[in-house]
C-alpha cells in the first residue's frame, strides 16, 4: 500500500517477486482428436504479472481454463501454492483463491453493479441460510462488512456513479471494470484476466492498464493475463509465455521473448 507507483521502471524494483505460486507441469489437453495444449510447462511467481500471448487458436484460453478448473487436462500436473491438484472444479479453484475475468463478458445481467461485485464475496460469507433470511445479528453484521469491502473496490475502480445501475446498461468498458471488480472482491491469490482489453478503445485500454498495474502494486495481487495488444503486454508484464498451436514456443522477459526466433516466426510468418 505504501509504495507509490510513479513510473514503469519502478515495477521490477518496487515489488518483491516472490515464490512460485502456480506451476503447470507438462500439461496436455485435447478435445477429441484436437490437441489444444501439448506438454505445456510454466510457472507464476508471487506478485508478478505474467502474460500469455500467441496467435488465434494457440491455446491461451484453454490454458486459462485449465488453471481455473473449467477443463481437466488429460496429462500433466498443476501445483497451486505447492499442492498438486486433481480434477479441481471451477468453484473449488475459486475457493483456493483463483479468480478470473472473462473474454466475453459474463456478468450477472439481471443485477446492479453492487450486487455483481458482492457475489465475489460469496465464498467469504459464513452466516447460515436461515440467519441470512431473517437477518439475525451476525448475518447483518457480516453483510455490512462485505459491503464495506465492495464499496472500497468500487471506489478503486472509479465506478461510484454506477453502483445501483443494472450492469447491462453500462458501456462495454465499464462492464469490463465490473468484471474485474467482481474478481477483486474475492481477494484472490491469483487473478486470471482473459483479454481484459479486448474490444476497447484507446482511452479505455489506458484506464484498464492503469487498474491492472494498480491492483498489482497496491494489493500485490499475482496476475496472469491473456492479451493481444503487444504494446500493452510488453509494457505490463514481468514475464511472457508464448504459445503457438498448443505448444510453448517462448518464455521469458518481454525483451527475451521479443528476440526469440520461434516467436518472431509465429507472429510474422516464415517463408515456406
Amino acid at each position: 500500500m505504501s509504495a507509490q507507483p510513479q513510473a514503469q521502471e519502478m515495477m521490477a524494483g518496487g515489488r518483491r517477486i516472490g515464490e512460485v505460486v502456480l506451476s503447470v507441469e507438462e500439461v496436455s489437453l485435447s478435445f477429441g482428436g484436437v490437441n489444444a495444449l501439448t506438454d505445456v510447462s510454466f510457472d507464476v511467481r508471487e506478485h508478478e504479472i505474467r502474460a500469455i500471448i500467441g496467435p488465434n487458436g494457440a491455446g491461451k484460453s484453454s490454458l486459462l481454463n485449465v488453471i481455473n478448473g473449467v477443463y481437466h487436462p488429460q496429462k500433466g500436473t498443476i501445483r497451486f501454492l505447492g499442492e498438486p491438484r486433481h480434477d479441481v472444479d471451477t468453484h473449488e479453484a475459486a475457493a483456493q483463491g483463483i479468480a478470473r475475468t472473462f473474454q466475453n463478458l459474463a456478468l450477472f445481467k439481471g443485477m446492479n453493479v453492487l450486487d455483481n461485485i458482492m457475489t465475489g464475496r460469496n465464498l467469504r460469507m459464513k452466516a447460515g441460510l436461515l440467519a441470512q433470511a431473517f437477518r439475525f445479528g451476525p448475518a447483518e453484521r457480516e453483510e455490512l462488512e462485505h459491503r464495506a469491502v465492495v464499496e472500497r473496490i468500487i471506489d478503486f475502480l472509479e465506478i461510484q456513479a454506477y453502483r445501483k445501475t443494472p450492469v447491462g446498461r453500462l458501456p462495454y468498458g465499464l462492464q469490463k471494470r465490473v468484471d474485474l471488480g467482481r474478481a477483486l472482491a474475492m481477494e484472490p491469490r491469483l487473478l486470471l484476466l482473459d483479454e481484459p482489453m479486448a474490444g476497447m478503445n484507446v482511452e479505455e485500454k489506458q484506464d484498464m492498464c492503469r487498474f491492472i498495474l494498480d491492483v498489482n502494486q497496491q494489493f500485490g495481487t499475482t496476475i496472469v493475463l491473456i492479451e493481444h495488444d503487444m504494446g500493452v503486454v510488453m509494457d505490463l508484464s514481468d514475464r511472457v509465455l508464448v504459445l503457438d498451436y498448443g505448444k510453448k514456443i517462448g518464455d521469458g522477459t518481454p525483451d527475451e521473448v521479443r528476440r526469440t526466433q520461434a516467436v518472431i516466426d509465429a507472429y510474422l510468418g516464415v517463408g515456406h
Binding site: D89, T90, F108, M111, T119, G120, N122, L123
Partner: protein
C-alpha cells in the same frame, strides 16, 4: 416496433373479452364480480404451481415436469401425517421431506446428467414425475384424503350494500389468496435481500461466471429444488384443502404449463400474472363465452374451461414466445 403490434392486439382482445359481458349487459355486476373473484382465486392456485416451475427453470434451465407430482406428493405427505399429529408438526415435517427429495434428485438425477441437452433433463424429470406419483401412493395410499386447515367452507356474503344480492365468497379461498401473496413476498425478499438469493440469481444469469466466483452449482440446485418443494407444500395444502388430496392434483401441473408460457419461463412476476390471467380467463370464458358459442354453433356443451388456457398459450407462443415478462433470447448465429 412492428413486433409489438400483434401482442398489443392480443391484449386488447383479452381486455375487450373481459369487459364484454358487463358492457353488453349480459349479466349483473354482482354476478360478474363473483365470477371474476372465482377466477382470481383459481388463478392464485395456478400461480403457486407455476412458481415452482419458474424457480427451477431460472436456476438450472431444467423444465421440471415433476412439479405437479411434487405438489401431489407434498399434499399427500402433509395430509397423512396430519392424521396422527397436529398440522403445525406435519407441515414442517412435510417441508423436511421435500428438502430430502431435493437432495436425492440432485444426487441421482441432476448431477449425473449435468451439461446434457435440455431434452434429456426434461425426460429425466418426466421419470421423476411418474416415480413420485407412484411412490407417493405406495407410501401414503391412493384414497382421497383431506387436509383440514380449520377454515369454514361456508361461503360468506359480502358487499351486499354495493351489489344487488351481494357477492358470495369462500373464506378458504380468501385464505389461499393471502397465503399465496405472503409466499410470493417471502420469495421476493429471499431472492433480493439475502446472500443466498443473490447467489441463486447469479446462477440463473450465468452458470460459468457463478462458478468462477465460487458458487457451487450442486448446492444451488439443492436449494432451488428445496424452495420449489416448499412452494409445492403450500400449493398442495391449498389445493388439497379445496379439492381433497387426490391424484388429479398432479394434473394441475398441466395447467401451470400455459401459465408459464404466458408469463415467461424466467419470470416470477410472470408466473403470478400469468396464473391470474389464465384463472380469470377460463372462468369468464366458461360462464360467459360458452353459452354464446353453444347457441351460435349448436354445440352439445361448454367445456371451454378445459382448453381455453392452452389456446391462449398457443396465441402467446405465436406473437410473443418469450411470454409477457420473459427474457427475449438473442442468439448469435
Amino acid at each position: 416496433m412492428k413486433r409489438h403490434v400483434p401482442v398489443i392486439l392480443l391484449i386488447v382482445a383479452l381486455v375487450a373479452g373481459l369487459v364484454a359481458p358487463l358492457a353488453t349487459g349480459a349479466t349483473t355486476p354482482g354476478f360478474y364480480v363473483e365470477v371474476l373473484l372465482g377466477g382470481l382465486m383459481a388463478g392464485v392456485l395456478y400461480s403457486l404451481v407455476a412458481l415452482g416451475f419458474v424457480l427451477i427453470f431460472k436456476a438450472s434451465g431444467v423444465f421440471n415436469f415433476a412439479q405437479g407430482a411434487m405438489v401431489l406428493f407434498a399434499a399427500l405427505s402433509v395430509a397423512r401425517m396430519a392424521e396422527v399429529m397436529p398440522l403445525w408438526v406435519a407441515v414442517p415435517l412435510g417441508i423436511g421431506i421435500m428438502v430430502l427429495l431435493a437432495i436425492v434428485v440432485e444426487r441421482l438425477v441432476l448431477r449425473p446428467l449435468v451439461n446434457q441437452e435440455g431434452v434429456v433433463l426434461l425426460m429425466a424429470t418426466l421419470g421423476v414425475s411418474y416415480f413420485l406419483d407412484g411412490f407417493g401412493q405406495s407410501v401414503w395410499g391412493s384414497d382421497i384424503y383431506e387436509i383440514n386447515l380449520g377454515l369454514s367452507k361456508a361461503p360468506v356474503m359480502i358487499l351486499s350494500g354495493v351489489f344487488k344480492g351481494g357477492i358470495l365468497i369462500n373464506k378458504d379461498d380468501v385464505a389461499a389468496a393471502v397465503v399465496a401473496v405472503l409466499l410470493v413476498g417471502a420469495l421476493a425478499l429471499f431472492f433480493q435481500k439475502t446472500a443466498t438469493g443473490r447467489a441463486l440469481r447469479a446462477v440463473a444469469d450465468d452458470h460459468q461466471a457463478a462458478q468462477s466466483v465460487g458458487i457451487p452449482l450442486n448446492r444451488i440446485w439443492v436449494i432451488v429444488w428445496s424452495v420449489a418443494g416448499v412452494v409445492a407444500v403450500v400449493a398442495g395444502m391449498v389445493w388439497g384443502s379445496k379439492l381433497g388430496v387426490q391424484f388429479s392434483i398432479s394434473q394441475v401441473a398441466l395447467k401451470a404449463l400455459p401459465v408459464v408460457i404466458l408469463g415467461g419461463f424466467t419470470s416470477i412476476p410472470g408466473a403470478i400474472v400469468g396464473g391470474l390471467i389464465i384463472g380469470v380467463g377460463e372462468k369468464m370464458a366458461e360462464i360467459f363465452l360458452s353459452p354464446v358459442l353453444i347457441k351460435a354453433f349448436d354445440l352439445a356443451g361448454g367445456g371451454i374451461e378445459n382448453w381455453f388456457a392452452y389456446v391462449l398459450a398457443l396465441l402467446f407462443l405465436l406473437v410473443r414466445p418469450e411470454g409477457l415478462f420473459g427474457e427475449r433470447r438473442i442468439d448469435r448465429v
